[in-house]
């Protein structure tokens, strides 16, 4: 035989143009590593990742019959997969590759050529020591359950569900409220086209309900998620609604006859609803629910009128909550947003002055199906407000007290509010207090111009410093930073554009999913530019305001993108999972159980019969937590063994 095949390792050093070679002396590195134990070949290339570079690597692997490869180049997060493929194409196991990062960890952070060159040599030696101990590995195949769970039935969840369902896959859409539609159903008209929000939304809601591939579960919450990409198991809690949806025909006589009223959440407490109710007339599904906190029968055992009048006998006071288990392959998080509660903003009269309301409440006032039938009347006395102040950036862009981020939609919806107000109260005067107008978006700038010019909305650039009641009016004081003078306007009503923050469900869902959220509580995407709809957890995708404040067009396109990612996942029957994961040496493991709780992916289990820990290879993400915690040395990280690490340390210290 021409070669001993014990160790045939080749080193390929990349110049990365001049990124590496300007600081690291490639020739010195090559000389220093010539004859290093186990190394059969050492060569270099200007760009190893280029096609000619990869051709060179493939050819050398074949010519020199290499069995393992060290590529000294950039961070493995950039090109490890590229080069693994190169190795595979050349006929050797892709996991026999080791990347020595001599760019990010060396040439980019040093200017002294001598120091950088020496360091590069050490890094490559360490990589060689590890590479010599790398085992050939095979990716793990995982079956895919081709059914998606969409959490949240706002426009994001609706769009994602429809897209996935229309591609031929099953969808479970879970919504915590009695109806889908979300915040968009509450809006009056939408910027910049002023089309009626419900008119464009409701047919989609109905489509969801009728779609054969969509299993719609309203008044439901996801309570448990286990498993992993392609194979999640979720538990959904169906809350008590006291109405049997199978029997109910939606006639509504129960609502008509119910004797008790309470504040309507949908109308932001500007109107009353019955205790058995549907949130709004176009609710989907068209099944009323009983509000258990206010129902006379449930509280005191009196009344029961709804049950008496219900023809099909759908009222079931004895109904219990139910838990449903489902297997899904992918999850879309579309839990949406809520606005910062105005009660928490006393400085703007929130919660104390009834005519200080938030934007969503004003949407209800504007809405033809709202508490005033679309007439603009203020909450306190029902009078038509002749002057209205709209205050933007309430709690947004306010890092000292509230949130540092921009809520994104407020500039445009405030323009819309002011404009619609002016359309309906011809002699009224809208004022808008703003910091900047952010009108990036198709038709947005034109829309804002139209508000300020055609509709005579008075824009005052400056923050509001004080707000108080005086002689039946609300005085809004601030500084006009353009005129550089203090201003005070006396108005009849104030609309606060309060910050958008993630739905309070987000942290709960994030915990269930072990998905990460940012400092503001929004879900974090895997990459802000290139993987914008993937979460950090494989198989979990993001849509809508659960991820960041955004408007309807952005939400819809993001939701469609998330749906596409789901379909992408479902396109193949099985997934490939990285094999560089943890394992257990059963001859060593004593079943102490320390690793079980340490695993953040629930991939470890104690087999009490065999008295050893086991690893679910598919759940394991190879983070190494168990390997560090294992007190007996039984936990091994494939291709990252203690032996490899100590040989790397020895190589560096030698």
């Amino acid at each position: 035989m021409k070669y001993s095949h014990a160790n045939r390792l080749g080193i390929f050093i990349c110049h990365c143009g001049v990124n590496i070679s300007s600081t690291v002396d490639i020739e010195t590195v090559k000389k220093a590593l010539t004859g290093y134990p186990g190394v059969s070949l050492i060569t270099d290339h200007t760009y190893t990742c280029s096609n000619p570079g990869q051709d060179m690597i493939r050819n050398k692997i074949r010519e020199e019959e290499l069995d393992s490869v060290v590529i000294a180049a950039c961070s493995p997060s950039l090109h490890e997969n590229t080069f693994r493929k190169t190795l595979e194409e050349a006929g050797i196991n892709p996991y026999k590759l080791e990347i020595a990062n001599i760019r990010e960890q060396c040439s980019w952070v040093h200017s002294d050529r001598k120091v950088a060159t020496e360091k590069a040599i050490s890094i490559i030696k360490a990589a060689v020591s590890k590479a010599l101990l790398n085992e050939p590995l095979t990716p793990i195949s995982v079956p895919v359950t081709r059914k998606a769970l969409v959490v949240g039935g706002g426009i994001a969840g609706i769009q994602a569900s429809l897209n996935i369902a229309n591609s031929g896959y099953k969808v479970i859409l879970v919504e915590k409220e009695p109806s889908i539609g979300g915040k968009m159903a509450q809006l009056s008209e939408t910027f910049p086209t002023l089309d009626c929000s419900q008119c464009i939304l409701t047919h989609r809601m109905v489509e969801v309900e009728r779609h054969p591939n969509i299993n719609l579960m309203v008044s439901s919450e996801v309570t448990r998620i286990s498993g992993f990409v392609g194979n999640f198991e979720v538990t959904i809690r169906k809350k008590k609604t006291y109405v049997n949806a199978e029997k109910c025909n939606g006639c509504g006589i129960c609502i008509e006859k119910c004797p008790r009223k309470t504040d309507s959440e949908f109308d932001r407490a500007l109107s009353k609803r019955k205790v058995i109710y549907r949130p709004f007339p176009q609710a989907v599904p068209n099944i009323p629910v009983i509000d258990g906190e206010h129902c006379l029968y449930l509280l005191k055992g009196r009344c029961g009128v709804c049950r008496d009048v219900c023809g099909p006998g759908a009222i079931e006071f004895e109904q219990e909550e139910r838990f449903v288990k489902e297997k899904v392959g992918a999850i879309v998080i579309a839990t949406g947003y809520e606005t910062f509660p105005i009660e928490n903003i006393p400085e703007y009269g929130g919660g104390t002055i009834p005519d200080v309301i938030d934007g969503l409440a004003f949407e209800r006032i504007l809405s033809a199906s709202g508490p005033t039938g679309g007439e603009i009347r203020r909450p306190s006395d029902g009078k038509v407000p002749k002057e209205v102040a709209f205050i933007q950036c309430v709690c947004s862009r306010d890092p000292e007290k509230y949130f540092s981020y921009c809520s994104k939609v407020c500039c445009m919806y405030t323009s819309k509010h002011a404009m619609l107000y002016k359309h309906r109260v011809k002699d009224g005067q809208p004022y808008v207090f703003y910091i900047d107008i952010r009108a990036g978006g198709k038709g947005y700038e034109e829309f804002y111009q139209r508000a300020s010019e055609e509709d005579e909305v008075l824009y005052i650039r400056g923050k509001v410093s004080r707000l108080y009641r005086e002689d039946g009016k609300i005085v809004v004081e601030g500084t006009d930073t353009l005129l550089q003078e203090n201003v005070a306007v006396r108005v009849d009503m104030v609309v606060l554009a309060t910050a958008i923050r993630p739905s309070q469900d987000v942290s709960r869902i994030a915990q269930l999913l072990k998905a990460s959220v940012d400092e503001n509580g929004f879900f974090t995407e895997a990459h802000p530019k290139l993987r914008p709809v993937e979460s950090m957890t494989a198989g979990v995708f993001l849509a809508g305001c659960a991820q960041a404040p955004r408007d309807i067009p952005d939400t819809v396109s993001g939701a469609s993108a998330a749906a596409l990612m789901v379909c992408n996942l479902f396109a193949s029957e099985e997934l490939k999972h990285e094999p560089t994961i943890a394992g257990v040496d059963e001859d060593v493991c004593s079943g102490c159980g320390i690793c079980i709780g340490v695993c953040p992916y629930e991939a470890r289990e104690l087999d009490r019969e065999k008295r050893v820990a086991t690893v679910n290879e598919v759940l394991c993400e190879g983070c190494g937590a168990c390997t560090a915690a294992c007190p007996s040395g039984a936990a091994v990280q494939r291709n990252f063994t203690d032996k490899q690490i100590s040989s790397m340390i020895k190589a560096i210290l030698a």
Binding site: G593, I594, G597, L606, R608, R611, A629, P631, S632, D642
Partner: protein, 332 residues
């Protein structure tokens, strides 16, 4: 070299427990005595160093040496026995890993002398006189072996062929080890003559383990009542069982005490103490750094607890006298 194989026993810095362990063989000891010729055993028989010196190199079949290496006498006797023996067995935790005497390495030698002879309660020693290796008296010159700078395990001074772990090693382990060695079917060189799994594997309390073990509080065994059948770690009491080789017969557990780690780690672990630290810090039930610091601070003597038996052979052990030619391994 006709006749029965010659066997030697020797003690270095130990407590006498290892000698006791041999006596604990009871009737089996007589059988051993029948099959071998005990040529040296200071605790039990009247042989002197000179008697050992008369043997040819390698004439003794096996020497069992217990205790840690603390004094020059230990160096000298270990060198001598190594030279005269075909096999050397490190007997017990101190010879194996450094043992409890090894905790002295947390202080330096001079500090120890002062504490012990100068500032000890009940001792009046205003001139801080500490032991000398040589004193002249009317009757003549008295010499004592010097005290090494640090305590060592046996294999840090001579080559060791086999190890019998434990403080002290249990009789059945000693009997099996002697049998194995005398049978001539020798295990791989450097073997520790005990099973290579950790204690949890045969822990009588293992069924009480919860699915996941987390530490909310760290409790001291002297201050809590742990029921006889409960896993100590799950109850918040540090037990070295997960990081300690089994084979001891769980005597401590039987006395309702957690494992202190005398058998040392499995052969897959280099440093018992840091491995335990790594394990328990992984199961502290907090993500908050301050809370983790508070929890950690409730461990009063971490080095003494985690390295009770293995400090000299830990990864972090540094020997000041490592360049002393009299102490270098292999200088015999």
């Amino acid at each position: 070299m006709a006749g029965k194989p010659k066997v030697a026993f020797y003690w270095c810095a130990g407590c006498g427990g290892c000698e006791e362990a041999i006596v604990d063989l009871a009737e089996d000891l007589l059988q051993v005595a029948n099959e071998v010729d005990i040529v040296f055993w200071p605790v039990a028989m009247d042989f002197k160093k000179e008697d050992v010196e008369t043997f040819k190199d390698g004439e003794i079949a096996v020497s069992f040496i217990n205790g840690a290496i603390r004094t020059e006498e230990h160096n000298e006797m270990s060198f001598l026995l190594r030279k005269k023996s075909r096999l050397v067995v490190a007997f017990g935790s101190c010879a194996h890993l450094g043992g409890i005497p090894g905790l002295a390495n947390l202080s330096d030698r001079e500090e120890l002398f002062l504490r012990l002879y100068g500032r000890q309660e009940g001792i009046e020693n205003p001139d801080n006189v500490v032991p000398k290796t040589r004193v002249e008296r009317r009757e003549g010159i008295i010499t004592l072996p010097g005290v090494n700078e640090e305590v060592r395990a046996l294999n840090q001074i001579i080559d060791v062929d086999y190890y019998i772990p434990g403080c002290a090693p249990p009789p059945n382990l000693v009997k099996d080890a002697i049998k194995t060695i005398l049978s001539g079917e020798l295990p791989p060189e450097g073997s520790i003559l005990a099973p290579d799994k950790t204690l949890c594997d045969e822990c009588p309390r293992r069924e009480s383990k919860p699915e996941k073990i987390f530490l909310k509080e760290i409790k001291r065994i002297s201050l809590v009542d742990v029921p006889q059948d409960r896993c100590f770690l799950a109850e918040g009491v540090f037990c070295m069982g997960p990081v300690t080789r089994k084979g001891c017969g769980e005597r401590c557990l039987g006395a309702n005490m957690p494992c202190r780690g005398c058998f040392g780690p499995s052969s897959y672990v280099t440093d018992q103490g840091s491995k335990f630290l790594s394990a328990v810090s992984s199961i502290l039930e907090t993500d908050d750094e301050e809370e983790a610091a508070r929890l950690s601070s409730t461990v009063l003597d971490p080095a003494g607890l985690f390295y009770m038996f293995s400090l000299p052979s830990s990864l972090g052990a540094v020997f000041k006298d490592r360049k002393n030619p009299n102490i270098l391994k292999g200088s015999f």
